[in-house]
């Protein structure tokens, strides 16, 4: 009665309760913040207890000691930042428990403790993503936003309502840094806005005689070059079944843009009519360019027969010459297809997405994250992070100790950013968790998709400068 009276008055009290009974089952939490490893600087992971009850007691602690607790009359657990910081400090490098006790029929019933790990390692402080409806072809409102991972603050980097409703996409950073980055703008104000140090330039990244302009990009670690794929991309719509859309290239080549000389470098080994090359990614030392390659599309070819293998090619930064393409992983021979190769910052691993065909894995429920140990060439499917739905676009943190990836595991339509710990010694990842939000039911009601999550070490400053630059006429590349 005292508890109930307190709840009625305050809605929340802070003393843990003594259970009348205990059960060995774990409580269901939404989002699923169980068994995960949290970075030492992440914002509090608020959640909803998906168990019936008239009141709820939640204790947080480590080493057997409760550090703080809440007794609440609704199952929404909003962790106070002060409490969370206390836990981050006390549990750094250790596990911590969430102890949940539920009042049912005037008896407090305690569930088995939920255990998570608090890493002593921090994740890069900011996550940049595009928010838009996971629609088909039309768009209305969209924007690229940066989220402070240590809090819930989200600020727009660039929104299309300032750009005559054009499409903004493909934000790309060099080595997780906003110093060198780029954004594409499509539509009336179309062009690629490249930030090189303090200088912003809008460029039409299209070589003379090339049918397609630059699309998917990878900023060279030196900041001097950007590798682009130039794709002719088309959407197709499945007649039946759970897959809605197929996005396919009908043509694609690679090129490297010299940021300082405003020139395009290409070579027949990475472009031409025999193959389609796409999704470039540099090795951390910039000496190798990884990419996906498939046999060229021939009119009438079934789209589900297009499969990409993982390739790499040497690139000499000084002479700007390419070596010979080398197959790193022959996925097509296994009836699979590769997209989004991303080399870890230490250069030891390469993470990619594998699907049954094509390269636009975000629309393929079967797509999974895979990892190649580059020294041995051994590939494994990352079962510890995959689900039975889409796992697709991923980015390493600057230290390689974390990675973020898009997953549609919650409902099959909306991509959400999941974060996972990565142990570079074992090559194993921890259980991923969805990006915490202030409102624990945020993902149940949010109908925009998180597109291309990219971790950066510092926030991008002055997003307005991108808008101003976007309004300028694009510079043509030098011949």
């Amino acid at each position: 009665m005292v508890v109930i009276t307190n709840l009625l008055v305050t809605g929340c009290i802070n003393a843990p309760v003594t259970p009348d009974d205990t059960i060995k089952t774990y409580p269901v939490l939404s989002p699923d913040y169980t068994g995960a490893t949290f970075p030492s600087n992440i914002a509090p992971p608020n959640f909803v207890i998906k168990e019936d009850g008239e009141a709820f007691s939640v204790e947080f602690g480590t080493d057997g000691h409760t550090l703080f607790s809440y007794t609440i009359d609704v199952p929404e657990v909003i962790i106070k930042e002060r409490d969370w910081h206390k836990l981050q400090k006390a549990a750094a490098g250790k596990t911590f428990f969430i102890r949940i006790t539920v009042l049912r029929n005037e008896k407090w019933l305690r569930f088995a403790d939920v255990t998570n790990t608090m890493s002593d390692k921090a994740i890069d402080g900011f996550l940049v993503y595009r928010l838009l409806y996971p629609g088909y072809e039309l768009w209305n409102e969209m924007g690229i936003y940066q989220r402070d991972l240590t809090s819930y603050d989200e600020t727009p980097l660039i929104e299309n309502n300032e750009l005559e409703k054009g499409c903004v996409n493909c934000h790309t950073f060099s080595r997780n840094s906003p110093e060198n980055m780029m954004i594409h703008v499509r539509g009336k104000l179309g062009g690629t806005i490249i930030k090189h140090g303090d200088k912003l330039t809008k460029v039409n990244v299209k070589g003379e005689g090339m049918p397609n302009g630059g699309a998917y990009a990878a900023y060279h670690p030196s900041g001097k070059y950007i590798a682009f794929s130039a794709n002719e991309i088309q959407q197709f719509f499945h007649s039946t079944g759970s897959k809605a859309i197929e996005v396919s290239d009908l043509e694609s080549d690679l090129m490297v843009y010299d940021v300082e000389k405003n020139q395009i470098i290409t070579d027949s080994v990475i472009s031409g009519s025999h193959f389609m090359e796409t999704f470039p990614n540099w090795s951390p030392d910039g000496s190798q360019l990884y990419f996906c390659r498939a046999a060229a599309y021939v009119k009438g070819m079934p789209l589900d027969s297009i499969r990409y293998d993982l390739f790499r090619i040497a690139f000499d930064q000084d002479t700007q010459h390419f070596g010979k393409p080398e197959c790193v992983y022959n996925a097509s021979s296994k009836g699979k297809s590769v997209s989004f190769p991303r080399v870890s910052p230490d250069g030891n691993y390469l993470m990619f997405t594998q699907s049954d065909y094509g390269n636009f894995s975000i629309w393929h429920p079967e797509s999974d994250l895979c990892l190649i140990t580059l020294s041995t060439g051994k590939m494994r499917i990352m079962d510890e992070v995959n689900s039975n739905n889409v796992e697709s676009y991923h980015t390493w943190s600057s230290t390689g100790e974390w990675f973020v990836f898009s997953s549609k595991r919650q409902d099959g339509l909306w991509a959400r950013p999941f974060i996972a710990r990565f142990d570079s010694k074992t090559g194993k990842a921890g259980k991923p968790f969805v990006l915490p939000q202030r409102d624990p039911e945020f993902y149940d009601n949010f109908t925009k998709t998180f597109n291309l999550p990219e971790l950066i070490i510092r926030p991008v400053k002055d997003g307005n400068s991108f808008v101003r630059e976007a309004r300028n006429k694009p510079k043509q590349v030098n011949p």
């Binding site: 209305n140 197709f236 719509f237 007649s239 039946t240 809605a244 409902d411 099959g412 339509l413």
Partner: protein
């Protein structure tokens, strides 16, 4: 705020009353402000003009509701500011409220609101301020009011679009599956309109009249009177889903509904469509997300809960879904041409009468008489009492172009009556009496092929 207002149109009458009240409030508050700020009455009744202007503007569905809401909020903010007795507090709150208003409704609406307030104040303070006598006020105000009312009436009538009203009514009938209503509107409608033809043809199918009466209604858009080819046209996005829903082709219906949501926002009709399609297409988790949004609305909560109950069954009353064939190669929709999709649907289910009648109509409307005849055999799956009139007319054209053996191999015959009618048509055509030809044969396939088809008067055989 705009979304909040719009949802009251769930009930047409209270919605209209609310909207009329909003427009009236603009006058009342503005009039009050004039009196409060200048200490003089708005003798020229200039406060009425914005309200009258909005009245005319909102005859069109295109005019954004955000204007009336924004102006009203602006006026209320000014009303609040002028009520503050302390000078410094008044200025401070003016700056703060102005900033909030600019942020929430945009600088243009704020500027217009300030003008709406400033103009009557200016005239009251500097032009009509000497008039104090009640009789004079009455003599002054009355003609002004009559003038405003007359001008508003003129513009209201002048800009009123009967066609727009009819289109809105037709759209409502389609949603309610009132097919008689659609045909009645179509019969009253003057001129041609692709959207109305699209609705009319759906009604014709549902009334069982498509193979008989297709050309009794305007089909000048050709096959595009049956569907909307995907042209990335945001205006069309809210209509495209109807035909695919009726055909049970839910992936395409979903695509159109989703595009409509992207363009027009998370409105109740858009959310409802997406919920229904996702339930029937076995995507309960996606449906649940849209249900969560719909549940937050004032008037659709019960509907949302009803849909939530359907989630486990995967069934929505009145909605059929084309099943997915596991293990078969991926098949992609032709979003530009409904013809291949209709053939696909007929092949998937030979008893799908709607797909069949639409396919035949598509082939007739596109002048493809040979392919029409090639597909005519599918009719045997359906219990038509006899070959429908329009099909016979097309078949007779085919007969005229092939030898007897080829025609006989089809296993169809053309009635004597159709042959006689064609001869009469041909005779009238040769006589050059086009008006009589149109009067007597305007609803035949022959007339469509010769005069109406946007693809010319030749049979297309490819």
């Amino acid at each position: 705020m705009t979304d909040f207002i719009i949802q009251f149109f769930y009930f047409p009458l209270p919605g209209s009353i609310l909207f009329a009240s909003l427009i009236s409030l603009i006058y009342l508050i503005n009039s009050f402000l004039c009196k409060h700020i200048t200490g003089k009455a708005d003798l020229l009744q200039l406060s009425l003009l914005p309200a009258f202007y909005f009245l005319i503007c909102y005859e069109s569905t295109e005019f954004p509701v955000s204007w009336v809401v924004g102006v009203l909020l602006g006026l209320l903010a000014i009303r609040a500011i002028v009520s503050i007795p302390f000078r410094y507090a008044r200025w401070l709150s003016a700056v703060l409220l102005l900033a909030v208003l600019i942020y929430s409704v945009g600088p243009l609406i704020v500027l217009v609101t300030l003008l709406i307030v400033a103009v009557p104040c200016f005239f009251a303070r500097f032009v009509t301020y000497r008039i104090t006598n009640d009789k004079t006020i009455l003599l002054f105000s009355l003609p002004v009011l009559l003038l405003y009312a007359g001008v508003t009436f003129y513009f209201f009538v002048h800009s009123y679009s009967t066609r727009e009203r009819q289109m809105i009514e037709a759209g409502k009938c389609v949603k309610e599956k009132d097919w008689n209503g659609v045909l009645a509107i179509s019969a009253r409608y003057h001129g041609t309109n692709q959207l109305l033809s699209y609705f009319t043809n759906m009604a014709l199918y549902h009334k069982g009249r498509m193979p008989y009466d297709l050309f009794k209604y305007p089909q000048s858009a050709g096959v595009e009177s049956l569907y909307f080819p995907w042209k990335s046209d945001s205006r069309q996005s809210e209509y495209g889903h109807f035909i695919y829903e009726e055909l049970g082709y839910l992936n395409e219906a979903h695509r159109w509904a989703f595009e409509a949501m992207v363009v027009f926002g998370e409105t109740a009709p858009n959310l409802t469509n997406l919920i229904r399609y996702n339930i029937a297409n076995n995507r309960p988790l996606v449906a649940q997300r849209f249900i969560n949004i719909l549940k937050q609305s004032l008037f659709y909560k019960k509907e949302a809960i009803a849909y939530e109950r359907m989630l486990p069954s995967g069934k929505v009353p009145g909605l059929k879904a084309l099943s997915h064939q596991e293990g078969k190669p991926a098949r992609f929709a032709n979003v530009m041409n409904l013809g291949p999709e209709l053939r696909y649907l007929c092949e998937r289910d030979s008893s799908d009468r709607m797909a069949f009648e639409y396919l035949m109509s598509d082939l007739l409307l596109s002048n493809q008489v040979v392919r029409f005849v090639e597909n005519l055999g599918r009719i045997r799956a359906f219990p038509y009492p006899a070959l429908p009139t329009l099909y016979e007319e097309a078949l007779y054209i085919y007969k005229l172009g092939v030898d007897e053996k080829t025609f006989n191999s089809l296993g169809f015959t053309v009635s004597k009556q159709t042959e006689i009618r064609f001869n009469a048509y041909y005779k009238l055509l040769k006589s050059g009496n086009m008006q009589l030809l149109k009067d007597q044969f305007g609803d035949t396939y022959w007339y469509y092929l010769n005069f109406t088809s946007p693809y010319g008067s030749k049979i297309i055989n490819k």
